[in-house]
Amino acid sequence: MSVAIAPPSLASPAQDGPLTRVWRPILGTREGRMGVPLAGVMVILIVVGRFAAPYPPDKIGVAIPGSAPSWEHLLGADGLGRDVLSRFLTGGTSVLVTPLGAVSVSFLLGGALGLLAAYRGGVTDQVVSRLFDLLLTIPPLLTVLVLLASLGRSPLIIILVVGLVFIPWVGRVARGAAQPVVTNDYVHAAVARGESTWWILRREVLPNIAAPLIGAFSLYLTSGIVFVSTLSFLGLGDQPPSSSWGLMVAESRGLILTNPAAALAPALGIAVVSVSFMLIADAVTRHVLRDTGQGRPAR
């Protein structure tokens, strides 16, 4: 039972680019107002925090190993006597940069595949979908572990492998977003006019899936952050003596009863980064997408 009411004037002046359209409304939502400042703080901390580190992060023995927080060492020391605070201030980069790279890779490749599958339909779609389904039965962590076992652990390899593993997820989202668009008559009209596939994908389809793709990007960025920090925790990311946060947690796990701060500080850091990005992603997908012209007014 649909309700026929005219929507409050839809003549929105904000029919500008997709990025402008999402930025302002994000701050209008509760999640956005919580997530953006929090994320901002963390990004600043990660980028410039290293300049405030009181001790060299790799220097062994500046404090008694496993000692609790004190005035000289605000977060205490880890198992090798390194200052936890300094290591914390320098170890956040891979929490952000690697996932960003990986998710970008998966969006470029997965997005293209999904779009193509949706547009071409038929055999192309069947093949691509089956491929995605196959890859999706296996949890990504397993695939990444197996690949990293043989390919090594440089940051570039991690970016590529993680990006690769996310491709079926992104591809499915892109395909799902593009399918209802592709069946629209304005696409058929373009085909009937003789427009090239490239033109149609760029001018008719892409603008209409930009919003859901941006939403998906923010969501998968969060997944990426979780994923990469997990890899780091498992010892498959940056190698020692790196102070990458995940690695810090793994190394200091045993100290949980003597100096919990050594493991908790980096864990909390990861938690805050991922939660704040998740809040932003939530704001983008739920509130913003509902308002931006994807809906149709009642006749």
Partner: protein, 602 residues
């Protein structure tokens, strides 16, 4: 005097907007339902009729609030009754039948279980008595082998059967009051006719009081004894059906009647420009902006519903000074006779969809004369849209030849030369999907100019766009708007403008008015006819609506299950159909409002 089954008095309904304010969509509606009688409510989209229907049940949709009034059933005010009381009444004494009733069937449970629930709840039957009643109900709606049917799931039945089962379900406890909210809208003409007959039978047999809501004036005037005309949330006219359709007193009623095409004669239709307000207007006459007879007094104050002799009422300050007949006298002017040359020849077309067993088009052959206006008529799934897509090259036929202006066309559009792509243009059915929501109207219209109009230089493009908009009756400022800022009718006009900008030789119209209100439909039809005459365009008009077809087309082709059934001049086909299926279609059309035999006898 017959007793009243349900009375609504001064009902108003509003909706809460996201910011908390209320928008009134129904205002001060009163109506009375009597046993054995049908009250028809006519209104176009956005007039608030669904909200009213729910209010008559004593409830509102999500976000809705009934702000005042009363709805009395057997002395009980439904609007103040507690939920438990309402639930006891719903299904038992008061039933609601929604649009496309089949969608109210639960796909996950068997029919028997669904039927049993209301019967057990309201009538307290169990075991054998329950089973008997369920089978009786199914028999009543014409389901054969009811005992087996009870064990089946909804998807195991045909579409028409599902509709009937849904009716049985809604009416399972022989309710005394029926609220029918567009029960046959969107159904095939033949299914529609059967459902309407079924409903009439049930109403007569059980002496139920019924409210029949529809936008289809022709249909409703065959069913209802009294009519209420609703506009912008208010009743603007009411009275006996016969009186209203012969001598309407409100300009809107008259406009509705004038916009109705007739399948029985080629009658001119007059459209209503503009669109209705989406909410109640309280400081003036809500219809004034679109009314041909408006005067300053119409916008000075809000007209009240004035009773007239003969249990009629009208909401118009000028009603005593207006005089109009129900139908325009003139006939629709067809374009000039077609030339004796064939612009399009179809030879043995076969079209298949990948997952279906039956072909969409079977051995279809047709020749179209240049300058003609040809209708292709069929019900859903008949293959009529596939036919257009095959001609346009969007769905290449598996076999068969398409010849255009003497030349054989490549099956797929991308292999065709530019000229052909320019000369064959399509206008689609759904105004929501035919324009790219991310492009402004100006951009949308520039594209065919750039591709097909070598006679227009770059700097002249904007001017050409403005001229095109003007030709379809839209302001020049429309070029800066986005499609979602326009109404459905306006969007279709842009689509028509887009097609004619290419100056096509052949225009393919795929159900272009099916998604529009009747008053808007008429304007779009007039538009297509005018432009086709101006540019000497041949038109192929696909539709399931025989009345529209009768009005604007000279020649009719009937298609069923991918095959050609009948082909002839419209007048001949309608007066003396030769194929059994054509006869069935024509028989299913409701007689025009006002004709003899169009009303149920009192």
């Amino acid at each position: 005097m017959t007793e009243e089954a349900l009375t609504a008095a001064g009902v108003s309904v509003a909706y809460r907007r996201p910011d908390g304010s209320l928008t009134t969509v129904v205002s001060g509606v009163s109506l009375t339902l009597e046993p054995g009688r049908v009250v028809g409510l006519v209104g176009e989209s956005g007039c608030g009729k669904t909200s009213l229907a729910l209010a008559c049940m004593g409830t509102a949709a999500e976000g809705g609030v009934i702000t005042c009034g009363s709805v009395t059933l057997d002395g009980l005010d439904l609007l103040t009754a507690p939920r438990t009381v309402l639930r006891a009444l719903w299904g038992d004494r008061l039933a609601h039948v929604p649009q496309n009733p089949a969608t109210s069937l639960n796909p996950a449970t068997r029919i028997g279980r669904q039927l049993a629930q209301p019967i057990a709840t309201h009538l307290g039957l169990t075991g054998k008595a329950l089973h008997e009643r369920a089978t009786d109900l199914l028999e009543r709606v014409g389901i054969t082998h009811p005992t087996q049917a009870l064990r089946r799931y909804p998807h195991e039945f045909s579409g028409g059967q599902e509709q009937r089962i849904a009716l049985a379900l809604a009416l399972s406890c022989d309710p005394r009051v029926l609220i029918l909210d567009e029960p046959t809208t969107g159904l095939d003409v033949t299914t529609q006719a059967r459902i309407v007959t079924l409903l009439q039978g049930i109403i007569t047999d059980t002496s139920a009081a019924a409210l029949y809501i529809s936008h289809d004036l022709a249909l409703i005037s065959t069913v209802a004894d009294r009519l209420l005309v609703m506009y912008a949330g208010e009743i603007v006219e009411s009275g006996a059906t016969r009186d209203l359709v012969h001598t309407p007193r409100h300009p809107y009623t008259q406009a509705l009647l004038a916009a109705q095409p007739s399948a029985h004669e080629r009658r001119a239709v007059r459209g209503l420009p503009g669109r209705p307000p989406g909410h109640v207007v309280i400081d003036r006459c809500s219809f004034a902006p679109r009314c041909r007879h408006a005067e300053p007094e119409c916008v000075a104050e809000h007209p009240v519903l004035q009773p007239l002799p003969g249990s009629r009422a009208v909401r118009c300050v000028r009603h005593d000074r207006l005089e109009f007949s129900a139908q325009p006298v003139d006939a629709w002017a067809l374009p000039a006779e077609p030339e004796p040359v064939h612009i399009l020849e179809l030879d043995g077309l076969w079209c298949r969809y990948r997952k279906q067993a039956e072909p969409a088009l079977s051995d279809f052959s047709l020749a179209i004369a240049r300058g003609d206006t040809v209708a292709v008529v069929g019900e859903s799934g008949s293959g009529k849209s596939t036919l257009l897509r095959a001609i346009a090259g969007l769905h290449p036929p598996g076999e068969g030849i398409v010849r255009f202006q003497g030349y054989r066309l490549a099956p797929a559009v991308r292999h065709r030369p530019d000229q052909v792509r320019r000369d064959i243009q399509l206008v689609f059915q759904d105004p929501d999907s035919s324009l790219n929501p991310r492009q402004r109207v100006g951009e949308i219209l520039s594209r065919p100019i750039r591709l097909f109009r070598s006679d227009v230089a770059r700097h002249e493009e904007a001017h050409t766009v403005t001229t095109a908009l003007d030709q379809v009756g839209l302001a020049a400022s429309t070029a800066r708007r986005y499609p979602n800022e326009l109404s459905g009718g306006q969007r279709q006009r842009v689509a028509v403008a887009r097609a004619f900008l290419a100056r096509p030789a052949l225009l393919l119209c795929d159900e272009v008015t099916s998604a529009l209100d009747v008053s808007v439909q008429a304007t779009v039809l007039e538009l297509i006819a005018d432009l086709a005459a101006t540019f000497a365009t041949t038109v192929i008009f696909v539709s399931h609506d025989l009345a529209v077809v009768r009005t604007i087309c000279r020649r009719v082709v009937v298609i069923r299950a991918g095959r050609l059934c009948e082909d002839g001049q419209a007048d001949d086909v309608f007066r003396a159909p030769r194929h059994a299926y054509t006869r069935e279609l024509i028989a299913a059309i409701p007689p025009p409002p006002g004709a003899a035999g169009s009303r149920r006898a009192t």
